[in-house]
């Protein structure tokens, strides 16, 4: 280094500064790098040696353990780990459901990527189309873990199924990218509807599914009708639009109910599937509720404010596990005697949604406080309505500021789903215990194998969430603006 710097100074300093003002890149050979960073003096050398030996021993024993470990318990119980006690003869349902889900997600993300690409062009910015290499780098933990999971399969079918899923991801995303602009603008609705359809494929048709479909169709139709100019404006117009949308939504729900109820509902759901499902539902339903609660808490209306504060502080002040037990053991006591008891998973989703809403509300409130008062005042001064001020000025800034905390909450929620076992739901982690009680595996000390398997599963999804949050932060310029 010293020599190099001397040479550098020996040259014509002025011309060097003029030509290249960046510092010289410190590309060292591996030997030099080690000398500089690991063995710069005697004390450092000793520390490096000890740490290095410990790391080598760790890798050695880890590999030895993995090679010697008996993974038969995973192979025998792979299906239970992934989808729980789903009936074997109905296995086509999870596969079909996954493909519909991929179809929706591929079309939606492809269309949205294209939309932002077109926006960049119209704003004369440098448009970027993400390459497949970049996609793989983004989602490698999930891709890798799905290959890891399938590698325990005992038949060829799961391999084919997974390969088909990868192909479908590529095809649907490219398809979404190439859809006409009019369809692309509606990609969000298509994606959400296909998400619900995929849930209906795995559960079978249901009243709840009809409501969910109807609700999304209603919102979609309202937004479509708001662009129809032949309809009257004002309150009457809104009523007319709502009536038309309601009729269409009801028709969709009724058609859905006409399809025979041949599924199993979600009584039989379990494994990793239920952990992911409750997380996704908890986040997507908890977000809007949480934002409303945060706004309610900051509101000047005393009833709204008090109700929000009571809800948030009650839910936050009580462990999730006790809320789950409360819903499971106490709630039925308050229901009418002839009222059909809701499924365990229904109760769990209500609890998880409320729980995440309360936490999200406090996170969002933190974000709201970070938005300078001048922003609101300036928006009000320019004549925006109270709702518009929140919608277009305050919330975008507030939410952007709290992405790390929010994603932290999502990851925590994902891991909290392991508590569902307390109300008798066979979620991912619980399968580790039940499979170790099977006669051929009991008392063989295989808990370490199954726990490792489960840990890898949790890690892959949690780490992907974390990576995505950092990507979102970078994209939105958190910390730079």
């Amino acid at each position: 280094m010293v020599d190099k710097a001397a040479n550098y100074l020996g040259d014509d300093i002025m011309s060097a500064l003029a030509v290249d003002s960046t510092p010289p890149s410190a590309k060292l050979s591996p030997g030099d790098w080690m000398k500089k960073n690991l063995f710069s003096n005697a004390a450092n050398s000793i520390v490096s040696l000890i740490v290095g030996l410990a790391a080598a021993a760790l890798v050695w024993f880890g590999l030895k353990w993995i090679i010697n470990a008996d993974f038969a318990i995973i192979r025998a119980n792979l299906r239970i780990f992934l989808i729980g006690q789903f009936p074997k003869e109905e296995l086509w349902r999870p596969w079909a459901s996954a493909y519909v889900l991929i179809l929706g997600a591929g079309l939606m993300t492809g269309a949205m990527a294209r939309n932002s690409y077109e926006l960049d062009i119209s704003q004369e910015l440098e448009p970027v189309k993400e390459s497949w290499g970049q996609m793989v780098r983004r989602f490698w933990p999930v891709l890798l873990v799905s290959i890891f999971f399938v590698s325990f399969a005992r038949t060829i079918m799961p391999y084919i199924g997974l390969a088909a899923a990868f192909v479908l991801i590529v095809v649907t995303r490219e398809l979404g990218w190439r859809m006409p602009a009019a369809v692309r603008q509606r990609a969000l609705y298509i994606g959400v509807l296909l998400f619900i359809v995929s849930m209906l494929v795995i559960a079978g048709t249901s009243r709840l599914g009809g409501y969910a479909l109807g609700l999304v169709v209603f919102i979609w139709m309202m937004s479509e009708l708001s662009q129809v100019e032949t309809l009257p404006v004002g309150f009457v117009g809104t009523l007319v639009r709502a009536a038309i949308a309601l009729v269409i939504a009801a028709a969709v729900a009724v058609i859905q109910n006409l399809i025979p109820h041949d599924g199993f509902g979600w009584e039989n759901w379990g494994g990793l599937h239920i952990s992911l499902f409750t997380t996704v539902v908890g986040i997507t339903l908890g977000m809007p509720f949480g934002i409303l609660l945060a706004l309610g808490r900051k509101s000047n209306l005393p009833v709204l404010k008090t109700a929000s504060v009571i809800f948030i502080e009650f839910v936050r002040g009580v462990p999730l596990i006790s809320l789950l037990l409360f819903s499971n053991l106490m709630l039925p006591l308050f229901l009418p005697i002839d009222f059909e008891r809701p499924a365990d998973l229904t109760l769990a989703i209500v609890v998880i949604t409320g729980f995440s809403a309360a936490y999200i509300a406090e996170i969002v409130r933190g974000g709201l406080q970070a938005v300078p008062k001048g922003q609101t005042e300036a928006a009000q001064a320019s004549g925006m309505s109270a709702a518009s001020v929140q919608r277009f000025i305050v919330l975008p800034q507030a939410l952007r500021a709290v992405i790390p905390a929010m994603v932290g909450q999502f990851i925590a929620l994902f891991k909290d789903t392991s508590l569902l076992s307390i109300i008798g739901i066979l979620e991912f982690l619980r399968v580790s215990d039940t499979s170790n009680a099977q006669q051929e595996f009991v008392g063989k000390g295989l808990a370490s194998v199954t726990y490792l398997f489960v840990a890898i599963g949790y890690w892959a999804f949690a780490y992907t969430m974390s990576k995505e949050s950092r990507r979102l932060e970078a994209k939105l310029g958190v910390g730079h603006r």
């Binding site: 008090t306 005697i337 619980r430 009680a437 051929e440 009991v442 008392g443 808990a447």
Partner: protein
């Protein structure tokens, strides 16, 4: 100040609203419970009838019904009519275990199985005529009694020991004991320990914080046998330690020792001494005598069939039996002294063929035992769970 008084007013309005709602709610409750009460009265008279059929036991029968009425009105109102509720729902809700080898597990096909789970099937076959018409809710130990009281499950069959305090304080009603377990001791076959007397100064592996540890201290203390307890948090840690020789003796429930021994590479032996009584069986909530009787007789039918040598394979051949008690048991018409042929009605509120359904669809006690507990290394012959005629404890009242 102004906003504070506003808040107070709002709170007052809210409070009065809550009061009105709760008042309405309790009105509704009263109506509901009145219904439940009258239903129960009907069922009580039903059991009285059954009692008078039974020649000798009129008194005890009416006593039972009486004390039940007086003692637990509230619970009864909430829980009455379980049999009708189960039959109208078409599914039995069964609380079970999913992590106890041999008794309650989730197999690799995702189905619940095990000794306790098979008794869920027995009750479903008896009550609904379909051994598959039950759903299992896996419960952790701490949740089983609250879940039973909440009415989420109709019957609890989860290796639950019958004790006085559970019968009393937990409002649980323990029925026929399906498995007589007890705390035992396991040693390596070559250890030279043949009975508890040889255990002196031995190190004993035991799970920490369990009644097993308390029993161990109490019993060996009383016997004056010195020992060193080696405590573990879970069997996953204890099992390898025992196999590695860190302790000479492992104490736990005898059924669990057998389950672990079945998968060990070393030869083990279980000492003859059993130092605690752990009778395990189905449990229902207090306050519904009709339901308790139904569950009890469904379970006891498996033992009665065993006593008569009736199993799932040969039950059809017994339909033409000469023995009128077997015919009555299987719900076949019998001819009385006057020459009238009729199906005997025992008045439990069940299909007369309930025992036939149980035996043909699930099997008798011996079959259930051998299918689930045989593979984990438990033997039936000569154990406390053997039939009373073979010197065991399985004894059921007569089926007439």
């Amino acid at each position: 100040m102004k906003s504070a008084s506003k808040l107070l007013r709002v709170l007052a309005v809210l409070l009065s609203f809550v009061l009105v709602v709760s008042a309405c709610g309790s009105d509704g409750d009263d109506g509901g419970s009145a219904d439940g009460g009258s239903e129960d009265a009907g069922s009580d008279s039903g059991s009285d009838d059954a009692g008078s059929d039974d020649s000798g036991s009129d008194d005890s029968g009416s006593d039972d019904a009486g004390s039940d009425d007086a003692g637990s009105d509230d619970v009864e109102l909430a829980q009455g009519g379980t049999l009708a509720a189960v039959q109208s729902a078409g599914t039995l809700q069964c609380g079970g275990n999913d992590t106890l080898p041999g008794f309650g597990i989730v197999d690799a096909d995702g189905a619940f199985g095990g000794f306790d789970i098979d008794f869920c099937a027995v009750i479903a076959a008896g009550v609904l005529g379909d051994a598959a018409a039950f759903e299992v809710t896996p419960l952790v130990a701490a949740q089983r009694f609250p879940t039973l009281q909440s009415g989420e499950i109709d019957v609890l069959i989860r290796n639950t020991t019958w004790t006085a305090s559970r019968d009393g304080a937990e409002q649980a009603n323990f029925l026929h004991t399906t498995f007589y377990d007890g705390q035992g001791f396991m040693v390596r076959a070559d250890s030279g320990i043949a009975s508890l007397d040889d255990v002196s100064d031995a190190s004993i592996c035991v799970l920490t914080g369990t009644t097993t540890l308390l029993n161990l201290n109490a019993v060996l203390g009383d016997l004056g046998i010195p020992f060193t307890p080696v405590e573990f948090e879970s069997n996953d840690e204890l099992n390898p330690a025992f196999q590695a020789g860190q302790c000479e003796v492992w104490t736990s429930d005898a059924s669990q020792l057998a389950a672990f021994a079945a998968n060990m590479d070393i030869d083990t032996a279980i000492l003859p001494e059993i130092i605690s009584k752990e009778p395990l069986g189905p449990v229902v909530a207090d306050g519904d005598t009709e339901w308790a009787q139904v569950v009890n007789w469904a379970v006891m039918a498996t033992v009665q069939a065993w006593e008569w040598g009736i199993d799932s394979g040969n039950v059809d051949s017994f339909l033409s039996s000469e023995d009128s008690s077997i015919l009555r048991f299987l719900g076949e018409p019998i001819t009385d002294g006057d020459g009238n042929t009729a199906v005997a009605e025992v008045g439990l509120g069940l299909d007369p063929k309930f025992a036939y359904n149980i035996i043909s669809q699930v099997g008798n006690y011996e079959e259930i035992f051998e299918a689930n507990l045989g593979p984990i290394g438990l033997t039936l012959a000569g154990s406390p769970n053997d039939l009373w005629t073979n010197g065991g404890l399985q004894y059921v009242p007569p089926f007439r």
